[in-house]
Symmetry: C2
Subunit: 285 residues, 2 copies
């Protein structure tokens, strides 16, 4: 009856990730009560009606009173939220985030949050181009990789508790430094999003009516171009340096293939270029 | 019993497209006998055993004797094949191709094939990163767009017959000039493939071990990087000028977003950039 890890959890930002976490925590009976925080009361009422949350508030002060507070908004407002909740956070409460950039978040949170509160930075590698709690699923994190980026300041008990929480949801947890995380995901996630936006905007620039000729290749390659502008604006700005480094290498590859297709007698080198990509890509099927 | 449009069809290159066309033509009873041509006798025997073809030959002379000859190999060997089959083609037989580039093919074929043979250039917008007759499906063309690029030299009867053939397979046929086709697909298909190869090779360059961190976004964006090197080498070289033009605009877009994320106070412009892509991409869901 009372095996719950947390009496109450506040989800700050009840979107796809926040909503899915709410559903998963309830399904696994890890929490007895979930409070949703948001700015749009109408949408919170809808989420309540759908049973995603048990209660809601539009006051950050109220949201701050739970044992676990989950930051699941776009990254850009983490700092503001942290400042607003700080005076009300209870001793030994845990704050986690689910943002896609970690160095900025860790630095900001460790700087702002009071010492008697424990911050654990997490990044679930789950998500979708779909946004909003309407698409929330209790199994979103099942089988997903969760990157946690502890620092020497991270409280071990809180770290263990959050690690176990994600594991109970069926996720596989991996620790690394925030710096390493940000490099890896600049390459494996942020760069592909950036490229995908640019590819669609290339069509937009040339002739947007041609979009109707999209086949399955174009559709797959640009599925992530439907992602949230608010979320991605923040990721691009907050992981700027890493993304620019990866972009530099990508542009280099573009120049390489451009040279190859511009010249004659380059057949074998083009095949080699494509074969290299094909082989590496086939490793992840 | 004898409603077939063609007594015999030769499929030159029994891969995904050739094999699927064979299956579809038989299912719709458009042909009584399908002959597969290829260089690898072992694979042809397998295709025969799977019931994809009714007979096979490794002699282009034999393959040339059908009423309909379908070129379904990589583009690069069309010219060689056309020259080899030309002396044996029967009067009023029809030759079609299913290649992804049309101007080069139309020019080459109209130049090489004898006058009493009718060439119709077609491009089914169907396919997959999967290759080989093992993945052939009789419904591959159902609902697919088929671009046909007639010229003033195209025989009207043959054009009608081929148009109806594709329509019977459930495809929707659209006519346009070979030049227009090559511009549109440089943008909507060839550029995305090129980008996808470059994205995977960026990972290869930085650290191929990071491929394991691929999430669903990376996987979708690079699915087409698994495509056939032989097929794509030819497409890149034979539609070179159009692809380079489209690539120029894409690089411009990359530079635009690079500038935006490099500077401060660019939040709104980044959102605008992403929103533009998101909106256009959502049109094709």
């Amino acid at each position: 009856m009372s095996e719950e890890e947390f009496k109450s959890v506040s989800i700050i930002g009840v979107g796809l990730i926040g909503g899915s976490l709410a559903l998963a925590l309830k399904e696994k009976k890890i929490v007895s009560r979930i409070i949703g925080y948001g700015r749009d009361e109408g949408r919170l009422k809808e989420a309540l009606k759908l049973g995603i949350i048990d209660d809601f508030t539009i006051s950050l002060k109220d949201a701050a009173l739970s044992e676990l507070i989950v930051l699941a908004t776009p990254l850009g407002i983490f700092e503001k939220i942290a400042k607003e909740i700080s005076p009300f956070l209870k001793v030994d409460s845990i704050v986690i985030d689910v943002g896609s950039v970690k160095k900025y978040v860790v630095d900001t949170m460790e700087n702002i949050l009071p010492k008697q509160v424990h911050f654990v930075a997490t990044h679930p590698i789950a998500g979708s181009d779909k946004t909003g709690y309407e698409h929330a699923r209790s199994d979103l994190f099942k089988g997903a990789r969760i990157i946690i980026t502890p620092t020497e300041k991270t409280n071990k008990t809180a770290l263990d508790k959050i690690t176990k929480m994600w594991q109970k949801l069926g996720s596989s947890v991996e620790y690394m430094s925030a710096e390493e995380h940000d490099k890896i995901y600049a390459l494996m996630s942020h760069l592909p999003h950036l490229i995908s936006f640019c590819l669609v905007n290339t069509v937009e620039e040339i002739d947007k009516n041609l979009i109707k000729y999209a086949g399955s290749g174009f559709k797959d390659t640009t599925r992530i171009a439907k992602s949230s502008p608010d979320v991605w604006k923040d990721i691009f700005l907050m992981n700027r340096d890493n993304i620019l480094k990866m972009l530099f290498v990508f542009i280099d590859k573009i120049e390489e293939i451009k040279q190859l297709i511009s010249q004659d007698y380059s057949e074998n080198k083009i095949i080699e270029f494509i074969m290299k990509a094909k082989k590496l890509r086939e490793e992840i099927d």
